[in-house]
């Protein structure tokens, strides 16, 4: 079974990041939200594997949780 790849996998990370931001340039918040949603759907379909998608959703949710204060 394939699982979510969370190791670096993108060639030219800075270029990719700049491209992602460029895509949103000049868009209103609503237009950006819509674009992100379309992008997520396109990528999700490309991945297709429901287990991998679920892992990705969980990883995204976890990364947004507030770190537990320790002590």
């Amino acid at each position: 079974m394939t699982s979510l790849n969370t190791r670096p996998n993108i060639d030219g990370p800075d270029d990719f990041y700049a491209e992602l931001l460029a895509l949103h340039e000049g868009l209103s918040k609503a237009e950006s939200d819509a674009l992100n949603a379309r992008l997520i759907l396109i990528l999700a379909n490309h991945i297709g594997d429901r287990d991998v998608l679920r892992e990705a959703m969980q990883a995204a949710a976890r990364a947004g949780e507030k770190p537990a204060s320790n002590g």
Partner: protein, 534 residues
């Protein structure tokens, strides 16, 4: 000309029961002459189980209600002997179109699978549907079957006893009492039986209103289902157009939660909406207009002692997906044979608990599907709307997004996976006919498989040896030998790669168990399991 929905079809007549000194006891009483109550009664009476239907009204259903009837209920109606006139009268459709904003996003074809006697759907007004059922009841009466329908008999009180239920009934000539050994409550979403027995009906109300108009017009729209998201004539909301027989069109407008009902229902306002949609010079007449809110809910259990709940009385769904009447007919399909075996003393009363568990499985599936459709059609949060619109924007160009568009997942029957009645499976055989599944139709020599199935236990035998008939505890099993090559569909649906198989079929045309070879002891064990006797 008086319209069908204005004519009393079962006018009040005094019954001898009203003059009896002590309440007359009936084997089965059905409350409610809606589609579900009539189906239950017809099913039982065909097998000579005496049944009395009580309804507080005397006419068919009033107003805009069900229009879409799916293949499985049509198959059940065939078994009951009233499918043919409905299919003949109904409009068959296969194409759906989805619009988003000003344009058509895509169209789909239901691509009906080959090798079925009945189409995927017909559209037929609920009042026609009910009138055909009343006609079937009259035919059964002419054949001398023990079925009776009493109009303007409103059940007003119930008392449960060990071996019967006592009913108090109001009529135009005053109240009377009868007793029922078994009571089937098909008295609709507002079920007074449920209330009188103090049972809960919990679920979720969708905070939205729908204006539904049935419009008579000569229009050359094709018989297709058109669904709009955010159309110019109903901004931010949805709309639906669907054809019914007799030049009647069903139009739904989503109109939001905070509305002025009275204002919305004014004819001039409805006409204004319709002209915006159909064009300024469209000519039409309004048959009905109403505003509905929708909900999804079900009872905890569909059985309470001698009272069995079916149809909207037991569960309610929003109409996206046409699952209301369609699932109610599947309830009675499941219930009738079980009740019959229990009444004949051939199965324990506990068999009726499997009615509740199997149909709760079906109701939950319907509620899940219709809740999801409702969320897509009427997104409840900002992010839900963002994703919904993203799906619709993508669907125009990208095929992958089309299966995500949810304008109602049209009713399909459920498979009773995990039912206590299911016997052994044979994994070599096709998955779609596993135990618990409704038998898919297929062409056979001189006709259709489903025309041969139902009403009793049967053994479908494909290219293996098996006796003509079997019997256990007074329950007979009839053998039907089938040539696996009668049609490619038959082979594909029942055998797959295997050369032979044996299927034990329930009286409701669902698969009870299946094997590669015949083994009498195994069949008898499965029969006992399927009748709750193990």
């Amino acid at each position: 000309m008086t319209k069908i929905f204005e004519t009393p079809l079962y006018p009040y007549r005094r019954s001898a029961d009203q003059d009896a000194r002590t309440p007359v006891r009936h084997p089965v009483v059905v409350i409610g002459a809606g589609p579900v109550g009539m189906a239950a009664a017809i099913d039982l009476a065909r097998h000579d189980v005496p049944v009395v239907i009580l309804d507080d009204n005397d006419k068919v259903s009033y107003g805009s209600r069900a229009i879409c009837f799916a293949k499985r209920p049509l198959e059940i109606l065939d078994r009951l002997g009233c499918g043919e006139p409905m299919v003949r009268k109904g409009v068959t459709w296969n194409t759906g179109k989805v619009f988003f904003g000003d344009e058509e996003t895509y169209r789909f074809n239901l691509l009906p699978e080959s090798g079925h006697k009945r189409p995927a759907f017909i559209n037929l007004q609920q009042y026609h549907f009910e009138a055909y059922m009343v006609q079937r009841i009259r035919e059964l009466q002419e054949e001398g079957r023990p079925i009776e329908i009493r109009g303007r008999n409103a059940v007003s009180a119930l008392a449960e006893h060990d071996d019967h239920v006592r009913l108090e009934i109001d009529t135009p000539e005053g109240p009377y009492n009868i007793e029922a050994e078994w009571l089937i409550a098909c008295d609709g979403a507002g079920s007074s039986t449920r209330r009188m027995l103090g049972l809960d009906f919990v679920g979720k109300v969708f905070e939205d209103n729908f204006l539904i108009a049935d419009v008579i017009m000569e229009a050359d729209f094709p018989p297709e289902r058109w669904f709009w998201f955010d159309p110019p004539f109903n901004r931010g909301q949805s709309a639906l157009l669907h054809k019914q027989p007799d030049n009647l069109w069903r139009i739904d407008f989503q109109i939001g939660w905070n509305i002025d009902r009275e204002e919305e229902l004014k004819e001039e306002n409805i006409r204004r909406r319709l002209h915006a949609m159909l064009g300024e010079d469209a000519k039409f007449e309004l048959e009905w207009t109403s505003i509905y809110t929708f909900q999804c809910r079900r009872m905890e259990s569909f059985r309470k002692g001698r009272v069995l709940f079916a149809g909207d009385a037991a569960h309610q769904v929003s109409p996206f997906g046409a699952r209301g009447a369609n699932s109610g007919l599947q309830d009675t399909d499941n219930l009738a044979w079980k009740l019959r075996l229990v009444m004949e003393g051939k199965a324990p009363e506990s068999l009726l608990d499997s009615y509740s568990s199997e149909r709760i499985h079906g109701a939950d599936e319907n509620i899940l599907n219709s809740t999801r459709s409702t969320e897509f059609i009427t997104p409840k949060s900002e992010i839900s709307r963002i994703f919904r619109d993203a799906v619709l924007d993508l669907a125009r160009e990208h095929e992958f997004a089309r299966p995500l568009v949810n304008s109602g997942r049209l009713s399909v029957p459920c498979t009773y996976d995990g039912s206590p009645l299911n016997g052994p499976d044979c994994p070599e055989l096709p998955r779609r006919t596993r135990p618990g599944s409704p038998a898919p139709d297929a062409p056979i020599a001189n006709g259709w498989l489903l025309d041969r199935l139902g009403d009793r236990f049967q053994l479908l035998v494909f290219a293996v040896n098996a006796p003509e008939r079997l019997e256990d505890g007074g329950i007979e099993v009839e053998t039907i030998r089938l040539d696996p090559d009668a049609s490619p569909e038959l082979r594909e649906r029942y055998l797959g790669e295997a050369d032979g198989a044996v299927y034990l079929m329930r009286p409701d045309q669902h698969v009870a168990a299946r094997w590669r070879h015949f083994d009498e002891a195994a069949v008898i064990a499965a029969l006992r399991k399927a009748t709750g006797r193990e």
